[in-house]
């Protein structure tokens, strides 16, 4: 079980929650279960969400494991110049 913090707007889409507990071993499973448990998040996940694990931001490595006790923070997927 990992605790996942959602940024403000994403929390609104999750029914007003800014933290959720999810049983997930990696980013792929995290997104799948988030979409199952909070359908309002699905379009956001489809558009792209980045995952910060202990401060390191992962945008595409969906196989990245979520260590127990790690700080998991969801962020918008960014554009760059």
């Amino acid at each position: 079980m990992v605790e996942v913090t959602l940024w403000g707007s994403l929390g609104t889409a999750a029914g007003g929650k800014n933290k959720v507990d999810i049983e997930a071993k990696d980013i792929r499973e995290l997104f799948r279960k988030l979409a199952e448990q909070y359908p309002g998040l699905e379009p956001w996940i489809d558009r792209g969400i980045a995952v910060s694990i202990d401060g390191v931001i992962y945008r595409d490595t969906w196989s990245k494991e979520l260590p127990q006790g790690a700080e998991i923070f969801l962020l918008p997927r960014l554009a760059g110049g």
């Binding site: 940024w7 609104t12 760059g80 110049g81």
Partner: protein
């Protein structure tokens, strides 16, 4: 991928040196081929008809007269680019932006295009296309567009991100929010509070090379596209999707690039050129004019930002709040969201809240511009920080040092920071001779900090070793700032050979696996990671071949300084084999030797910079002159320090132009008044002092050499540093960018009028 990206402290041989770039001679002699330098036999000239109206319904387009003109080979409208986006809203916006469908949404929006045997015929044909417009009310100002009375640009827009879905449409596509703590409580603990509103005008990246491409679609459905782009693989994906092609049948080759800065991350002309070529059955060259680049490519947002920061007498910030409104053109964007994330990223805050609003306006579709959205937010925040330091009576640098984020700080956008460089850049600035240099009359000094995330992404690289021992490195990230040199250094470092033995090229989309584009300061970060991985894979093959040549187990062979060495006393008399010796024998040991890598380069290190600016203001005319400018920035590891310095200087130069002169000026008719470099003034060499740089190296723990991105952060502090300098010079807080002479004079007059 079986690659460990973790940083390992080491002594470098090639990395950190400053050899001449491999593309340098071609660029200074004119041999380098840019987008408009490609030509094909039988090629036609493409031209685009653009809306003269800021907002208009397209009732009808009659192309019949143009089609009958001798020399015209194809005329297209939106009907020739049908909607194949399958519900993908972002792709539909790109399609509609390439060629207007039901409505023209800004002055310059493409409505039709022609391909003809020469430019004169193409221009004549454009004049023969009859478009029946119903002109609609328009809005170009970000604050005006948010009013309930504003003309609606898209009646299907209902603000996303609100707790309750709105019942009425508006021009606000999205609200986003970040932060932690309780700002209300935090402000309650403040002895001083600064509250101000700021505006920044829309600017263009100002790349010297206009968008240019040659498209050639064959009758068998395959196609080639030669194009100036920051990401040819992304262009292939987008063009293929918009034209209903299989991606593998479209080969995209990137040209040299005369500047992009985020503006060449987006397709505009390319799908149009392909559609024209498909219809004409001949190659089509499409080069945008400067007027078209300004009116119809992707400038940055105009913004309107409110800031509130509170602090105790001892200089500790107790709360910080920002509301940021960013224009995104007529299509939804995420620009305010990024501004809201970056605004307070430099600081250690217990109570912080930022809210962003994405606002539709009748201007071109906003595109990324170097650390997109961050410079405007930094301008507002760093101006208020300076003002707050003054109110408290603290030195501006000391105030920032006291409140700077550090390792373990929860960032204002959420995650906790690892090792970061904001504190070291501030300490470096505090001790820099620039801060102690005397100032004269009408002169002021300002400083400011800036932050950018940096990111990585999908990356694929091939490293091929020739039989003569030379190394070809094929990368898929377009070289926008010297990355072929830096990646050659990385390959040389890893293989243990000379830089001159390596030749790096940017491969086309049919020669290499997919690569994300060069954006997010990812070029050197990502492709160096992939190059290290490819080189290590090649070394594995080299060891195997050496083992064959010696007829010993491969586990007994190690690679050191460009040579295979047999380890252990039993092999003591085997000497060593050079990369060249192994390569020369490769035909008899299993064939070509190569290393390949495909990976997702995540874990980019965030980047911070602090800038110092001295400026002189003429109080009679409002004219300004930058006297001295210093950039201090954390690079993680500077692979090629000269090009890192170049990125620092380039970002500062663009920021100076943005701060002092550049702005899109729209008339009441919604038409852009200054679509050319005479009236939209970017800085030239004579406007700028030599920009001093200081590279700091706080290694990124998620890259083998500690590399962070360096390309974008340098444009984040200048708006604020210059605004602080001007404000200090004239004694009036400047709140509107650009600080052009009329705007400075107006601020002075307003101050005098009380």
């Amino acid at each position: 991928m079986n690659f460990d990206p973790r940083y390992l402290d080491r002594n470098f041989t090639s990395v950190g040196t400053r050899p001449i770039r491999p593309d340098g001679v071609d660029k200074v002699t004119g041999r380098a081929r840019y987008g408009a330098d490609f030509n094909m036999a039988g090629q036609l000239v493409g031209r685009v008809l653009r809306s003269p109206h800021a907002h208009a319904t397209i009732r009808k387009i009659d192309t019949s007269k143009a089609e009958k003109l001798a020399g015209v080979k194809a005329v297209i409208t939106a009907a020739d680019l049908p909607d194949l986006t399958d519900g993908d809203a972002a792709m539909y916006d790109i399609l509609d932006n390439c060629m207007a469908r039901n409505k023209a949404l800004y002055d310059g929006h493409a409505v039709a295009a022609v391909a003809a045997v020469d430019a004169r015929t193409a221009r004549q044909a454009l004049k023969l296309i009859e478009v029946d417009y119903e002109v609609l009310p328009h809005v170009t100002d970000v604050d005006e567009a948010m009013k309930h009375s504003a003309p609606l640009i898209n009646e299907a827009t209902f603000t996303e991100g609100l707790e309750e879905k709105p019942v009425k449409p508006s021009n606000v596509t999205k609200r986003s929010q970040f932060g932690h703590g309780d700002v209300h409580q935090g402000f309650g603990h403040a002895d001083f509070i600064v509250e101000r509103s700021f505006k920044t005008e829309q600017t263009h990246q100002g790349y010297i090379e206009p968008h240019a491409c040659v498209a050639s679609v064959s009758s068998d459905g395959t196609a080639d596209l030669w194009v100036c782009t920051q990401g040819h693989f992304v262009y292939r994906q987008h063009c293929a999707q918009l034209l209903g092609m299989e991606a593998s049948k479209l080969r995209v080759t990137s040209s040299e690039i005369g500047g992009g800065f985020g503006g060449k991350t987006h397709v505009w002309a390319e799908p149009v050129a392909l559609a024209l070529s498909r219809k004409a059955g001949r190659p089509v060259k499409l080069v945008m004019t400067r007027d078209e680049v300004f009116r119809a490519s992707g400038p940055t947002s105009a913004t309107s930002i409110d800031i509130r920061i509170g602090a105790r007498k001892d200089g500790t910030i107790t709360a910080a709040e920002a509301t940021l409104r960013y224009s995104s053109g007529p299509y939804a964007g995420t620009w305010a969201e990024i501004g809201a994330m970056t605004a307070f990223a430099c600081y250690r805050l217990d109570n912080v809240k930022t809210v962003g609003y994405e606002v539709l306006v009748n201007r071109p579709k906003t595109a990324a511009y170097r650390a997109p959205s961050a410079p405007m937010a930094a301008f507002a925040v760093e101006s208020a920080i300076d003002e707050l330091a003054k109110e408290i009576g603290m030195d501006a640098v000391e105030f920032r040092i006291r409140n700077a984020a550090q390792e373990g700080t929860r960032s204002s956008y959420g995650p906790v920071y690892g090792p970061i460089g904001i504190g070291p850049t501030l300490e470096a600035v505090k001790n820099h001779p620039h801060m102690k240099a005397p100032l004269g009359k009408n002169q002021g000094r300002g400083m400011a900090c800036g932050f950018w995330f940096n990111f990585g992404g999908q990356t694929c690289t091939d490293l091929n070793i020739g039989m003569d021992g030379s190394v070809s490195l094929a990368v898929g990230t377009v070289d926008v700032g010297g990355s072929r040199a830096s990646l050659s250094l990385v390959a040389a470092e890893e293989l243990g050979i000379a830089y001159e033995q390596v030749k790096a090229v940017v491969a086309d989309t049919s020669s290499l696996g997919y690569n994300d584009m060069t954006d997010g300061s990812r070029g050197t970060f990502s492709s160096s990671m992939a190059t290290i991985s490819a080189a290590r894979n090649a070394i594995k093959v080299l060891r195997e071949r050496a083992a064959q040549m010696w007829d010993i187990p491969v586990d007994d062979v190690v690679w050191e300084k460009g040579h295979a060495i047999a380890k252990g006393e039993k092999h003591g008399n085997l000497g060593r084999l050079s990369l060249k010796e192994i390569a020369t024998a490769s035909g008899k040991t299993g064939g070509p030797i190569a290393g390949h890598s495909e990976l997702v380069a995540d874990g980019a290190g965030v980047s911070f910079a602090t800038h110092i600016c001295d400026i002189e203001v003429d109080p009679e005319t409002g004219a300004t002159r930058v006297l001295r400018y210093t950039v201090v920035q954390d690079a993680g590891k500077a692979v090629h320090p000269t090009y890192v310095e170049g990125q620092y200087q380039g970002g500062a130069a663009q920021g100076i132009g943005w701060a002092l002169n550049e702005e899109y000026i729209y008339g009441k008719d919604g038409r852009l008044q200054n679509p050319g470099f005479l009236d939209y003034r970017i800085p030239v060499c004579s406007d700028l002092p030599m920009i001093d740089t200081q590279i700091l190296e706080i290694p990124n723990p998620n890259h083998p050499y500690g590399v962070r991105g360096v390309g974008e952060t340098s444009i984040v502090p200048p708006l604020a540093a210059i605004a602080n300098a001007v404000s200090n010079a004239v004694g009036v807080r400047m709140t509107h960018i650009p600080m052009s002479p009329p705007r400075i004079l107006a601020a002075l007059e307003a101050e005098q009028a009380g």
